[in-house]
């Protein structure tokens, strides 16, 4: 495909792999922040071909995975209401809450619909004035502008039967949480290209400084990721710790200012729980007081719904690189992609789900025998 195939060329990729292996004088531990990058790394087997030189820790950057159980339960509650049409991006539908997922609610008659854009949900609300349309606003800084736009648009049009259940998270506080952990092993980061397309990379510079850690803003295609890894490795080998931009075709230092303005008008910074990790201060976005009328949690009085994550799940340790997924006692037995206990087993790009597959290739069908 034009504009994509260029970044998937196997020959160039093998060249980059060789350069990384040749440059590394020791084994470095890097974290890719974004789930989209994890997806490419797993799909292309990048971690496997680099394993002599690089340990990749899959970061917490999968919005599907980290959406807290509590918000999923609130979504499930809304979806069971007769007066609600619950709209969501497709892959949130299979994320298990405490008792079930949105697909099961749909099977029982809940009006659950997949939309491709939050603006479609606003249109749905205009077309169904007798129903309440709720959109599940999840994701990182990448999806925040579009979700903010939906709220803005509903406000402009006076669509008062539209609201959003917000579970937005932001990257830098999560990186701080990982770096502050006394047992942190991450020596360099691949920052998420699309997040930086919106936000720029200014905010990463203090992190690189304070924690002496290289941060490379990286794209999502195999060559992007390999080049990002190579840039991080070079910094580590040369003893540098800077923010560098690999994804120059998409990211500018200052990011997308109009998008940032819209986000800061509609949203405000809040503490947010991350599934499997816990609450990270200042790591989320919630609706600003001016837009409280569009807040589904207030509109439907959802504050009383709380949820408890299974104690058996050690996702926090996995996401911090302290525990390999297959070292978790629940791995492959009590916890599988079909019936996950925690975040990293939920989506195909979660760390545990990825290992669930790799482990099975390496150790025969043993780990998958009970699937």
């Amino acid at each position: 495909m034009k504009y994509l195939s260029e970044y998937r060329d196997p020959e160039m990729a093998r060249g980059l792999v060789k350069r990384i292996l040749d440059t590394s004088t020791r084994r470095w531990t890097l974290m890719e922040v974004c789930g989209g990058q994890t997806h490419t790394i797993v799909k292309q087997g990048i971690n496997e071909v680099l394993s002599d030189a690089i340990e990749m820790i899959h970061g917490p950057g999968c919005p599907v995975c980290v959406t807290p159980l509590e918000q999923i339960d609130r979504a499930l509650h809304l979806a069971t209401r007769d007066d609600v049409i619950f709209t969501s991006f497709g892959d949130m539908l299979r994320v298990p809450g405490s008792e079930c997922d949105l697909l099961s609610v749909k099977a029982r008659g809940g009006n659950v619909r997949v939309v491709y854009s939050p603006l479609d949900a606003v249109e749905l609300a205009r077309g169904n004035p007798d129903k309440e349309v709720v959109f599940f606003a999840v994701g990182f800084e990448t999806t925040a502008p579009a979700n903010a736009m939906a709220v803005w648009r509903a406000h402009e049009l006076g669509v008062d039967n539209f609201s959003v259940l917000v579970s937005h998270v932001t990257v830098p506080p999560a990186m701080v949480a990982i770096l502050e952990d006394p047992e942190n092993r991450v020596q360099g980061f691949l920052a998420a290209g699309h997040v930086c397309t919106v936000m720029g990379w200014d905010e990463y510079e203090p992190l690189a400084d304070r924690y002496h850690v290289p941060i490379v803003v990286t794209g999502f295609e195999p060559l992007d990721i390999l080049e990002g890894i190579w840039m991080a490795v070079r910094q580590l080998e040369e003893g540098r710790h800077e923010v560098e931009n690999q994804y120059v075709r998409s990211v500018r230092r200052e990011g997308n200012r109009p998008a940032q303005d819209l986000v800061s008008k509609v949203f405000r910074v809040v503490d947010r729980g991350w599934r499997g990790i816990g609450t990270i201060p200042g790591s989320g976005l919630g609706l600003s007081p001016e837009f409280a009328a569009y807040d589904a949690e207030i509109k439907f009085g959802l504050e009383h719904i709380h949820a408890e994550e299974p104690a058996e799940c050690r996702a926090g340790d996995v996401l911090k690189g302290r525990l390999k997924p297959y070292e978790c006692p629940a791995f492959g037995g009590r916890c599988t992609p079909e019936s996950p206990l925690g975040a990293p087993m939920v989506s195909t790009e979660g760390a545990c789900a990825a290992y669930y597959n790799f482990g099975r290739v390496q150790a025969g069908a043993a780990a998958g025998a009970n699937s």
Partner: protein, 356 residues
């Protein structure tokens, strides 16, 4: 810095009065052709209906009929929208069953057709569907010899549901079966992947892509006939890669034969399908086809088999996509361009568009 949520109480009963995932009710995922479908058959249908013909879970059954043997196969067709670029539900209803019969190695001859019609279905639409069935049956050399119609209240069916059952005749020396793949066999795919599923999705969601994607609905029977003539018993398994796509078809064969499948090289995914999948975050390996089959053949027969497939317009771009290995039994593994590996597992349920 990382703290766990301080206080949490158990989810109030009112919040989610539903049973645990997957329990108690049919979900759409049970029809996806993935793990949920497989489990539905294994847990509920096979224990009750199981017999020597059914347990093989082929695309149809070979049954004795007064000293001879015929293949019988049935399929039910539900699709929204009823008409889509490249065909309508009528084309699918004939091709689908003709192909299932052909995958058993038989030559399709007779079809039955049952219709559930929804009150309010326009005659114009019905006529187009029936015309499509007539033309397609004639082109496939099958006759529709018996049928049934029922009408249900408006809202009780999606316009029209069609069931077809096919009967085909067998050459007794040609018995491909999903459990016959052996290490060393080569895996061939008859044509470009993912067109039907993406055409339906584009039509259903009103998505406009740069290039139109047209369903690949087609009869595979002539391809099977040529394969039989060219490679006979060296053809081990045939499977049409319908719902669940190529990935599910390969997983079914790997499991049934107790072998591993290793995919290598470029998979035949058309640019427009790749672009559409990329946009929606879908994997073309799991997207449905209605005119693509996968053939496992002995390595010596590879060239003959490919030539036989390529002699037909539907098989013109037939290509080898992988081989059978003794390792990782029951699993399909893709060698990436980089030399890494990726497991191509069955999906639990339907493929869902991704956020990121």
């Amino acid at each position: 810095m990382i703290t766990t949520t301080a206080k949490a109480t158990k989810l109030a009963e009112a919040a989610c009065p539903t049973p645990r995932i997957d329990q108690g009710r049919i979900q759409l995922g049970h029809g996806s052709g993935g793990k949920m479908s497989a489990r539905l058959l294994r847990d509920r249908f096979l224990p009750r209906f199981g017999n020597q013909y059914l347990v093989g879970l082929g695309d149809g059954a070979r049954v004795p009929v007064q000293g001879a043997e015929v293949v019988v196969s049935t399929d039910t067709f539900v699709v929204s929208p009823l008409e889509f670029p490249g065909g309508n539900i009528g084309h699918l209803a004939v091709h689908g069953t003709v192909n299932d019969v052909a995958m058993m190695g038989a030559v399709p001859r007779y079809l039955s057709a049952g219709f559930v019609l929804e009150e309010g279905l326009e005659f114009e639409v019905l006529d187009r569907i029936l015309d499509a069935m007539t033309e397609t049956a004639a082109a496939c050399g099958v006759e529709i010899v018996t049928g049934d119609t029922k009408v249900v209240d408006r809202g009780k069916a999606d316009g029209i549901f069609v069931n077809t059952t096919g009967i085909g005749f067998l050459d007794s020396a040609f018995r491909p079966s999903p459990d016959m793949a052996r290490p060393g066999d080569v895996v061939l795919v008859s044509g470009p992947l993912g067109r039907h599923g993406m055409a339906i999705m584009a039509a259903r969601e009103g998505l406009a892509f740069e290039a139109d994607i047209v369903s690949d609905t087609a009869s595979l029977a002539p391809l099977v006939e040529s394969l039989r003539a060219a490679a006979g018993a060296e053809v081990r398994c045939l499977r049409d890669a319908t719902r669940g796509g190529l990935a599910s078809a390969l997983n079914e064969i790997a499991t049934a034969s107790g072998v591993g499948v290793e995919l290598s090289g470029d998979l035949p995914v058309p640019t427009a399908v790749e672009a559409a999948c990329e946009m929606l975050g879908l994997d073309p390996l799991y997207v449905a086809n209605e005119g693509v089959m996968v053939a496992f053949v002995a390595p010596e027969a590879e060239t003959r088999a490919l030539e036989a497939l390529r002699a037909h317009p539907v098989g013109a771009s037939a290509v080898r996509v992988g081989r059978v290995v003794a390792e990782h039994q029951g699993m399909v593994v893709l060698r990436t361009g980089l030399g890494g590996t990726r497991v191509v597992d069955m999906l639990p349920g339907d493929q869902l568009p991704r956020i990121c």
